[in-house]
């Protein structure tokens, strides 16, 4: 019986860890959409870039923490380049052109990864501080995965604090609700949007570096995580922080428990969930605009 219970606790922790990865990715994607009305299919590629940059940094410096620091910074810088070169002028181009351009970016990144890092799956070790296993709730669980959960919760706490307690947060919330109104507040809204975009990219890069020790670093890791992340964002409601949290938890748990309870159906389950939500609540569970 206790073995049974600990099995479910382990699964719940797995689900939570997966949810946190989804959260780090989806929160950037969803706020970028809410503010900039931009659908960025290349968000998954930025996550993969974070993993590759992290790999190189960790290998060169001989420490995991080099990856942890370098990945968000480098990916944010690449984000800046993308913003100035492409995204700024695609903002009002409609969803189809955005989907196409960022689909093109996925292709470009794919080959950039191949040229830069080769086709073989790479991996780097977790930090020594969090290696090994810990005991929690009566189960033994990899410490590094607990670190991921903790990191996700920390980012979540920091973001909600910024959004609810600071002026920038107020501008972001107003911007998601109504651009014109935000512009009326007399602050340089463009600069805030740009900042949000950079933070979104940095979080994607961070997610890549954090996921790398658990999953392996492959050229297609970005495309593989893109679809569940998009599903998280759409189920939660585009542009909504609350939606990103709810969607991440929902998809993380459905995917984890689905593959345990009904392996045959697991793959279909999240798509069925998305289809169901879109039919019943076409704007997602927590639509950002009232």
């Amino acid at each position: 019986m206790t073995a049974d219970v600990s099995f479910w606790i382990v699964q719940a922790l797995n689900a939570l860890q997966l949810s946190m990865l989804f959260f780090l990715l989806s929160v950037g994607l969803t706020v970028i959409f809410g503010l900039l009305h931009f659908v960025n299919l290349a968000h998954g590629a930025l996550y993969a870039l974070g993993a590759f940059v992290g790999f190189t940094a960790a290998t060169l410096a001989g420490s995991y923490w080099a990856a942890f620091a370098a990945a968000p910074i480098v990916v944010a810088l690449v984000g800046v380049l993308l913003y100035w070169a492409l995204i700024r002028r695609m903002r009002s181009a409609g969803p189809m052109n955005q989907v196409l351009v960022t689909f093109g970016l996925i292709f470009v990144f794919l080959d950039v990864f191949r040229i830069g890092w080769g086709d073989i799956a790479l991996g780097f070790a977790e930090p020594e501080l969090f290696s090994g296993r810990s005991e929690l709730l009566g189960v033994v669980y990899p410490t590094y995965r607990l670190f991921i959960i903790g990191l996700g919760l920390a980012v979540l706490a920091a973001l909600s604090l910024v959004l609810t307690r600071t002026q920038i947060g107020a501008i972001i919330r107003a911007g998601v609700d109504n651009d014109a109104m935000a512009a009326c507040m007399g602050i340089n809204v463009e600069r805030v949007f740009f900042l949000v975009f950079c933070v979104g990219c940095a979080l994607a890069g961070l997610a890549g570096a954090v996921a790398a020790p658990v999953l392996s670093v492959t050229t297609d890791m970005g495309t593989a995580i893109l679809i569940p992340t998009l599903i998280v964002v759409v189920i939660g409601g585009l542009g909504s922080l609350k939606g990103a949290i709810a969607g991440s938890l929902l998809i993380g748990f459905v995917q984890t428990f689905g593959s345990v309870l009904a392996p045959q159906l697991a793959a279909i389950l999240i798509y069925a969930l998305l289809a169901g939500v879109l039919i019943l609540k076409p704007a997602g569970l927590f639509p950002a605009r009232g």
């Binding site: 492409l86 409609g94 689909f103 093109g104 793959a267 879109l278």
Partner: protein, 334 residues
């Protein structure tokens, strides 16, 4: 609105002529490419029908294509039915699946429609990937080709098969063009332009959208059945969303909402990929950059740009340069 302009007719005939000439002068590998182009042209036309004219940007046409291939494959390999029955299953299955997707997603728009179609397509992909009945990830080998010996055709011959696919691509174009020139097609364009107004005018919009999606699915199913016969093997990879993404690339490269552009785009992308991979492994990079450039250049696509220049020259020739002639028919007969 769709008009079969002289420019369009000329482009269709030119493309068909080029394809036949290429087919007659090339070897086995060239015929493989030509067949692929013809099949993807049908699929791209099917996508343009709903995306270019109905405003429904679908990311599930790869899945409709795959459903057609699987319907044909399972009818012939698993059930032992003849190829004609398989063909009917593919067309009917594609139409039915597409109609259902169209009906359910009719109320979603923009990015939500794109995501909803993505979800349904990936659902089919995931199902076939996991399903032992259909061979799972390994797919089904040994798919037969249609026996057309009664017509004096041997479809196991590469040239015959390629030309047959080409003829069917022309047929797909003709059917789509005829549909777009009908009341049904005009109304579809009306929905793209202003769906809410169409509804206020008394049109049951969701039924119209679902029907259009169904027709598109029937064509995609046909393309799938041809693909299954072409490679004589089917796998879940046909249904993956990236196939739908590449299809959108074809349509945008050739010209969204021009119909003939879709076929042109299929040809350009297949040959571009082929030519690039002769020099480098990194065709993704090239195609990605070409796509980005195409969208940034205004997104008209190759045929769209040609048509744009053509119309401008015609307008300039008919009227003094500084005053365009808005009160004249600028397009051909309806």
């Amino acid at each position: 609105m769709f008009h079969q302009t002289p420019l369009k007719t000329a482009t269709v005939l030119l493309l068909a002529g080029l394809a036949v000439a290429y087919g007659l002068s090339t070897g086995f590998f060239g015929l493989e490419l030509l067949t692929e182009v013809a099949i993807l042209a049908i699929l791209a036309i099917a996508l343009d029908l709903v995306a270019g004219y109905g405003g429904m940007i679908s990311l599930c046409h790869g899945a409709l294509y795959g459903v057609g291939a699987y319907a044909f494959g399972s009818a012939t390999v698993l059930l032992g039915w003849g190829a004609p029955a398989g063909l009917a299953m593919a067309v009917g299955g594609g139409a039915l699946f597409a109609w259902a997707i169209g009906a359910v997603t009719a109320r979603t728009h923009g990015i939500f429609f794109i995501m909803a179609t993505l979800a349904f397509g990936q659902m089919a992909y995931a199902y076939l990937f996991e399903s032992p009945v259909f061979g799972g990830n390994d797919g089904l080998p040994g798919v037969p080709r249609l026996d057309a010996s009664a017509l004096g055709l041997d479809l196991n011959d590469s040239l015959t098969f390629a030309l047959t696919c080409l003829a069917l691509a022309l047929l797909a174009y003709a059917v789509s063009a005829a549909l777009l020139r009908s009341g049904f097609g005009r109304t579809l364009v009306g929905i793209r332009a202003n769906e809410a107004r169409m509804r206020v005018l008394g049109l049951p919009v969701w039924r119209h959208k679902a029907a259009a999606f169904g027709v598109s699915g029937a064509l995609a199913g046909l393309a799938g059945a041809l693909a299954a016969q072409h490679t004589m093997y089917i796998s879940p990879g046909l249904l993956h969303w990236t196939v739908s993404g590449e299809l959108l690339i074809m349509v945008i490269l050739g010209g969204l909402g021009t119909l003939v552009g879709a076929a042109l785009g299929a040809g350009v992308l297949v040959f571009l990929k082929h030519e690039v991979s002769r020099f480098t492994d990194h065709w993704h990079l090239v195609v990605g950059l070409v796509l980005i450039a195409a969208v940034l250049a205004g997104g008209r696509g190759l045929y769209g740009q040609l048509e744009h220049l053509w119309e401008r020259r015609r307008a300039a020739r008919r009227a003094p340069p500084e005053t365009p002639a808005p009160d004249e028919e600028t397009t051909g007969h309806a």
